[in-house]
Amino acid sequence: MRELRVKKFKFVLLFAFLTPHYSFGVGVKDFCFDKPTYFNCIEERNSNFSLQGYFELEGVRYSISTRRAFDLDRCEDGLKKIRQVMRDDHFCIEGEVLDQDSKHITVNQVYNSKIRWTYFINPPKKEQIYEYIY
């Protein structure tokens, strides 16, 4: 009886490790590119501007935005820096996603090998914030 219980437990454990993990929850993902993606400042309410963008990957359109809309000067400074980053041959966008299959990214940072733009000032490492790094 005990042997049967141990065998059942080992099977459950093996099953859990082998089963692919899909769409578990909010996590962070990196998308990398060889050519610039689209970003712009879009007017919202009360003189606030939203930094938004999009890109296509394997025929699927992904949208990008920031957590909040802010003053025009902040949006334009951010846009200028992001466009600077994107001039490099290779750059990446790190963003928060609702789950692994999400088609929308809340942008955390845009970076290449030399410079980066970050939404937060001095952000911590992603391993400190997210349980799921996709």
Binding site: E44, R68, T106, P124, Q128, I129
Partner: protein, 239 residues
């Protein structure tokens, strides 16, 4: 001819230690110093109620701590235990529950604020990072902490330009990295945004209030849709 008595609402929240118009100052050690040409010796100052300069109900940091330490652990939790995928997703549950109850009691909205709503707000504003700091522009200054309360908001919360008629908070910018103070302040500010949204939309929903807080115009904005999805998740306990 009888004089009509002026009815004054002098009820303070049961969690407050001092009468209306005063705030609690904790006991502290005072170093020797000179004040108005007098030499003051080093001494221990007892905790006491101090008159608010504004004359209005004001929370200071000492009392924020006194309230949370005295009452929050005794509350039955209403908030979801869902971490939403964030490592610190459950770390501030008690503070959120407590301050939502406090501000719901004080400001008495028709539809009480749901603590899970605030939890999702913190997730979308700072990803539960209490040290989060972002530049919000020349007008707003920096946004700090869990609920990304801006420098401009700190001024308004203290009574600047009479943006708030009552129930103020007296804070310093660096206080906003303290989760307890940040949540107390952020929820109070959310209530001010609700008041503005109510004037605009005639009894706005809390979701319309979030739109205002984040500066977005439409419910179709991806960030508002994200908020809704997270809130639905927390309510259905999908994860």
């Amino acid at each position: 001819m009888s004089k009509k008595k002026k009815v004054v609402d002098d009820k303070k929240h049961p969690w407050r230690k001092c009468p209306l118009g005063q705030h609690w100052r904790s006991p502290s050690h005072v170093d020797a110093h000179t004040r108005k040409k007098f030499n003051v010796k080093e001494h221990y100052r007892k905790g006491t109620c101090v008159k608010n300069r504004s004359g209005r109900d004001t929370l200071y940091d000492d009392e924020i701590y006194l309230i949370s330490n005295s009452f929050f652990s005794k509350m039955k939790p209403k908030i979801s235990q869902n971490k939403l995928g964030y490592k610190k997703g459950n770390e501030y549950n008690q503070l959120i529950d407590g301050w939502v109850k406090y501000w719901n009691d004080i400001l008495k909205p028709k539809v009480p604020l749901d603590p899970d709503f605030v939890k999702v707000m913190i997730a979308t504003e700072s990803s539960f990072n209490p040290k989060a700091k972002a530049y919000a522009g020349k007008r707003a200054g920096h946004a700090r902490g869990l609920m990304q309360v801006t420098d401009q908001t700190v001024k308004y919360l203290s009574g600047h330009r009479k943006e708030l008629r009552n129930h103020l908070l007296h804070l310093e910018q660096d206080d906003l990295y303290d989760p307890n103070i940040n949540i107390a302040a952020g929820i109070r500010w959310l209530y001010r945004k609700k008041q503005i949204a109510d004037a605009r939309y005639k009894e706005a929903s809390w979701l319309e209030t979030i739109m205002l807080y984040k500066g977005y115009r439409s419910m179709n904005h991806p960030q508002i849709k994200k908020f809704i999805k997270l809130y639905e998740r927390i309510k259905s306990e999908e994860i």
